[in-house]
């Protein structure tokens, strides 16, 4: 009897090893993913409150006002959901790809987990007390309670620990596998953690050396322009970190799910390198309206921003090449007929596919906003809100949802049942319709002049403002559909995590094509790419930052605008 039990355990261990499943690492990823989806649930409801308020359907009470809700919604969804999902997903990847996490790496990630949670709780308390309704950005001269910033600084530290853990893991693997390429999904992870590591430096300087001394009252004023510039060097990079995380699944997982091969390993790695090198400087296009940057610098940054668009075009090309080749191999015919051969009933394909398609208008909108004159029209309007709900809420988050349908079963040692798959497909369509309604109406009402960052107002029943109402109602309709999507998604995740039938799920990683050319080794020289990244950052930032510091006006005292 005992022997049989031992044998069973032995077989299980063997199966786990074959699948690249490591129970302790899975627990880590499970914790991260669980926090991410709880954040989605709470943040989603807060989003609904905002949507209903903007439509004029719901008056929020004074003890929990629109700006508090907005701050919490932003913090939960753009910091907690994305950071925890990205780290959970990539740590699962590192564990699977690189033969299990090293004990010290796992420990670092756990410490990072709790440091982030403590930081998050510290940040939430002042928000609930209405002491930090600064709308989740670190935009002086609006100043929140010091504890809010201390909490954020702890989140930064927590993420840094995870970055360092990932670097140790990858370096250790490379030492033991000399001359080999880091597996592609771990290569994505390396790129993401490099970007996170450097992007967080900017915001750490802003929070530790500028904002904290200022909100504690140790200094009288703050250099607003420098703070905003540092914030966006981080903020823009963070946006692209989510995007790069989503792209990793498009390149590596989706081809496997549809039964195809990866199209070009070299192209994939070049896209990652290009995004890492050119990303941080994109921050300037968020500041086109800022007065203290001269036009020449702004025009220069149009180049830098459009350069980031180029790898995305390469991505679009590569992915549609994969789709067409796979579908034709399965007997798809005609110019468009091959579309029918794609697995439309599989949520692991459908959700990332719609996410990808959404990136076409989302990217185009981004290019419009990067252009100085076009941005002048939309910068402070709901258009921008629509843009980042299309990019983050659709391209990124729907990919995350698609990932969850195999990642959560994988780390929970369970399977994706046909019922949950069906639920996922329904969820995907509800989310798609909801987001098109919401983001579409936000874009349009923005063009009509409706401002962002404000709660509902008819501006004394002004005719223009009343003209926004139909679109704002559609926005609320979209928001309501989205909350249904959130509930379904969170239900699916926790069902797969705790209640789905036990069984082995594969970690889907597509192979390279048979006749693929060998990837050159220079793609592994991260030292070189980081040096290039620093050079590009120096080229972009030295001129404007020196100007902002040397020609600075007197610093601003803290303001509480609410």
């Amino acid at each position: 009897m005992k022997m049989e039990a031992d044998l069973k355990v032995g077989i299980k261990e063997k199966a786990n090893k074959m699948l690249g499943y490591h129970p302790q690492d899975a627990k880590l990823s499970k914790s991260y993913i669980a926090v991410a989806f709880i954040a989605l649930l709470v943040g989603g409801f807060l989003g609904l409150l905002q949507g209903l308020n903007r439509a004029g359907l719901l008056e929020l009470p004074t003890w929990f006002n629109y700006y508090q809700v907005l701050t919490a919604h932003g913090l939960l969804l753009i910091l907690v959901l994305t950071a925890f999902f990205t780290i959970g997903y990539f740590y699962a990847t590192l564990s699977h790809n690189l033969g299990g996490l090293l004990p010290k790496v796992r420990k670092l990630a756990w410490v990072g987990f709790f440091v982030k949670l403590v930081g998050f709780v510290l940040a939430v308390i002042p928000i609930l007390m209405n002491e930090a309704s600064v709308m989740y950005t670190f935009y002086p001269p609006m100043a929140a309670h010091p504890v809010f910033y201390i909490g954020l600084a702890l989140i930064v530290v927590g993420v840094w620990l995870c970055c360092i853990g990932a670097f140790i893991q990858v370096a250790n693997w490379r030492k033991n596998h000399k001359g080999q390429h880091v597996p592609i999904l771990s290569y994505f992870a390396t790129g993401v953690f490099v970007l996170l590591f450097f992007a967080l430096m900017f915001v750490a300087v802003e929070v530790l050396f500028m904002i904290l001394p200022w909100v504690f009252g140790w200094v009288d004023g703050i250099n607003v322009m420098v703070a905003r510039t540092l914030f966006w060097a981080f903020g823009h990079t963070l946006v692209n970190i989510w995007y790069l995380t989503a792209v990793s699944a498009w390149y590596v997982v989706v081809p496997k799910v549809i039964g195809g091969k990866r199209w070009s390993d070299l192209l994939t790695r070049v896209v990652i390198i290009a995004l890492v090198i050119m990303n941080i400087t994109g921050g300037f296009h968020h500041q086109i309206i800022d007065p203290a940057i001269n036009e020449i610098v702004k025009f220069m940054h149009v180049f830098m921003s459009l350069a980031i668009g180029f790898p995305s075009l390469m991505t679009a090309f590569a992915l549609f090449a994969v789709f067409e080749r796979t579908a034709r191999r399965k007997g798809g015919k005609g110019l468009i007929g091959w579309w029918k051969k794609m697995p439309w009933g599989d949520v692991r394909f459908l959700a990332p596919f719609i996410a990808m398609v959404a990136f076409i208008p989302a990217g185009a909108g981004g290019i419009a906003q990067t252009t100085n004159q076009l941005d002048q029209v939309v910068h402070n309007t709901m258009w921008i809100v629509g843009h980042f709900h299309l990019t983050l809420g659709m391209s990124v988050v729907m990919t995350f949802f698609g990932i969850s349908y195999w990642l959560v079963p994988f780390i929970s040692n369970r399977v994706l049942t046909p019922q949950i798959n069906k639920l996922g497909v329904i969820q995907t369509w509800i989310w798609t319709v909801g987001m098109i309604c919401m983001s579409g109406s936000m874009h349009y009402v923005g063009l009509l002049g409706s401002p962002r960052r404000t709660s509902y107002s008819t501006y004394g029943d002004h005719a223009t403002a009343l003209g926004w109402d139909p679109y704002l109602t559609l926005l609320a309709v979209g928001g309501t559909l989205l909350i249904i999507g959130v509930i379904l998604q969170v239900y699916a995740v926790f069902n797969m995590m705790f209640f789905a039938p036990k069984g082995e799920t594969e970690f889907p990683i597509a192979e390279e094509e048979e006749n693929a050319t060998k990837t050159p080794y220079w793609t592994e020289r991260w030292g070189l790419w980081i040096v290039l990244m620093i050079i590009v950052v120096a080229m972009a930032y030295v001129i404007p930052l020196t100007d902002m510091i040397v020609n600075a006006p007197p610093g601003s005292p803290p303001f509480k605008t609410w």
Binding site: G179, E524, G527, V542, I543, D547, V550
Partner: protein, 185 residues
């Protein structure tokens, strides 16, 4: 041949009046983008000269030291505030800039770098690091305008450019010193 051709194209692009005018309108772009790009153009074109005159390079630059000395002299010359001013006001000096940086500095750097020992390479990089820190200090904290053609704010910007470049080189030296690529590759 291909890269030499691209080098020539780059040189022509840099010499084109609108490009040259734009790059020279900012002190930091003048010194930290135009001049290095001229050197890079020369490095690309070096291949042509190495193939065309192999014995010349063998005879005069067998261990790389004469070449690197020429490179250092030319580059240091162009870091003097006075020479930048002169390039903007006197046409012949401007022409000398467009010839000296690619053909004297760029070509000799390409031919010499591989011939140098790692000690020689480190000496060059450390030397330039120290020089850049010194120049950064000079340009940032100089109380007076050093160039007739550029305002003090431009000068301070250039100083920070120098300091950041020096920091970049220190990072590179540290990386080289502490990390052995053969452990990974």
């Amino acid at each position: 041949m291909n890269q030499s051709f691209y080098g020539l194209l780059l040189l022509i692009f840099l010499v084109a009046p609108p490009v040259a005018h734009f790059m020279e309108s900012h002190m930091v772009i003048h010194m930290h983008m135009q001049m290095p790009m001229l050197v890079i153009a020369g490095m690309l074109m070096a291949r042509f000269f190495q193939k065309r005159f192999p014995t010349f390079f063998e005879k005069w630059n067998s261990n790389g030291i004469p070449g690197i000395l020429l490179f250092v002299i030319i580059v240091v010359y162009w870091m003097l505030p006075r020479t930048m001013d002169e390039a903007l006001t006197t046409n012949s000096v401007e022409v000398f800039k467009f010839i000296s940086l690619p053909f004297l500095a760029g070509v000799s750097l390409r031919d010499s770098w591989k011939k140098l020992s790692s000690l020689g390479k480190n000496i060059i990089i450390i030397g330039f690091t120290v020089l850049f820190i010194g120049l950064g200090w000079l340009y940032i904290w100089s109380p007076v305008q050093l160039c007739n053609n550029y305002l003090i704010i431009e000068q301070v910007t250039l100083g920070w450019g120098f300091l950041l470049t020096a920091i970049g080189m220190i990072v590179y030296l540290g990386y080289n010193f502490f990390i052995d690529p053969s452990a990974y590759e």
